[in-house]
């Protein structure tokens, strides 16, 4: 059995490695908001040019990305759910958390705004209005950073959305959830980056934005080499150092879609 297994691995490896790549690389577990918006496509070539290190990004929800890192399947994790990140470091899975950047969440919904979110003063009031009107709301329902932020907003609004027939849990990524919201049509909480780069909007538009509680900070952490000895500490740390350096921060700020800046640098120098 064991030799059969080695044979299988050898065969798979042999077939897979036809164009041999000896290039140094790190694996980064990150979120769909950074990958799907095109941010990584913009900044990673700059980093690779400078250091020769290729960055392989696995884009998942924040919860899944942290789990990937916890299992040792990534060297660096870049996500957006501060409480979960701090817990990740406190439990010894990550070395240290660094602020990298932020963007914000927006509430999108049908342009006729049936729940009247345009009149709401705060994000909490906007969420309460959705519940009161019983207007459809498409939730990620996937333990992502956006989903965690959404749950916090329901809680402040004193609403228990789960189980209501207007509350639709898609259990999928931001884009898939926006596709659903556009079809219903339903309200949804989205990160601005994914929204700006999303093309299948249908009748959806931003109906509420600007409340400081919708601030969405991203943090980056090196996976703890004491837990997983194979973690590429040097290359991983180089990537983190570059992200929070002036140069990395400028690269992040320079990323725009149709003239709109998506992410704002927030590293503490």
């Amino acid at each position: 059995m064991n030799s059969a297994r080695s044979l299988l691995v050898g065969l798979a490896l042999g077939l897979a490695s036809l164009p041999a790549k000896a290039q140094e690389f790190i694996t980064v577990a990150s979120t769909t908001s950074t990958e799907n918006s095109g941010l990584f496509g913009h900044i990673l070539p700059i980093f690779q040019e400078e250091t020769g290190i290729a960055v392989r990004v696995v884009a998942q929800g924040t919860g899944q990305a942290l789990e990937t890192a916890r299992r040792g399947d990534a060297d660096v994790v870049l996500v957006h759910a501060r409480a979960a990140e701090e817990q990740f470091v406190a439990e010894g899975h990550g070395v240290e958390r660094f602020d990298v950047m932020y963007n914000d969440f927006v509430v999108v919904g049908p342009s006729d705004d049936p729940a009247g979110l345009g009149l709401a003063e705060t994000a909490t009031a906007a969420f309460a209005a959705i519940a009161k009107a019983g207007s459809p709301f498409a939730s990620r329902g996937d333990d992502s950073g956006t989903h965690i932020a959404e749950q916090a907003l329901w809680e402040t609004a004193g609403v228990k959305p789960a189980g209501n027939d207007w509350y639709l849990e898609t259990g999928s990524g931001m884009g898939a959830t926006l596709n659903t919201a556009a079809q219903v049509p339903a309200y949804a909480l989205a990160d601005r980056g994914t929204w700006l780069s999303f093309e299948n909007r249908g009748d959806l538009e931003i109906v509420f934005e600007g409340d400081p509680v919708l601030f969405n900070p991203y943090g980056v952490m090196l996976v703890n080499p004491e837990r997983h000895s194979h973690v590429k500490v040097d290359a991983g740390q180089k990537f983190i150092d570059w992200l929070i350096s002036d140069e990395g921060q400028v690269a992040i700020e320079r990323f725009t879609i149709n003239g709109d800046q998506l992410f704002f640098a927030s590293a503490k120098q």
Binding site: A12, T32, D73
Partner: protein, 232 residues
Amino acid sequence: MASNPFVTAFELIASGNPELIQIMGLSLRVTLSAVLIGCLIGLPLGAVLALTRFPGRAGVIVLFNALMGLPPVVAGLLIYLLLSRSGPMGDYALLFTPAAMIMAQGILILPIVVSLTRSVVEDLWIEYEEQLRSLGTSRIRSVPTLLWDGRISLLTGVLAGFGRASAEVGAVLIVGGNIAGHTRTMTTAITLETSRGNLGMAVALGTILLLITLTLNGAAYGITQWSGGGGR
């Protein structure tokens, strides 16, 4: 969806976009490798299963038949847990590599090849048993002959396996991670473009995938015709 996705598809192919070529190449390499591994293991295994009698044989046959319906995402999850750094084969560092995707697709293909081979070889054995016995060929020694004789029926099974693997997205997404330039295949790229709301590009990629499958099936059909249809 401003422009016609089919036009987009042909423009994409015509433009020779290097990213697209790379994705197509990887998809083909992964799936064909998985098909090859599935056949190397599945053809002999299916034939032996057809020609031997042992306790629990019925159970094994039912198991392989049932595994043809294994949800790809479950196959992916099993490989993920196996290859994860925290899993039993973590030291090989195979997660998020094309090798992991080949293994996952191989698991999807294997039951199809085994089950179809068993069925084909069983029928052929019934037909040729006397003849082979009179030549003094043992059951096991007659495996290559029977496989060769049934090659055209077997090709259908291999194509079914190829179809299942090349069309699948759940498993390769989990074990490959859809890493740009490294483990992004046609199907995971389609998923990504859909989630970006870029439906035109998604349909264009889907059209290209369909064209690849059509071409391969056309080639396979051509080969069977050319070889005179001597088998079955």
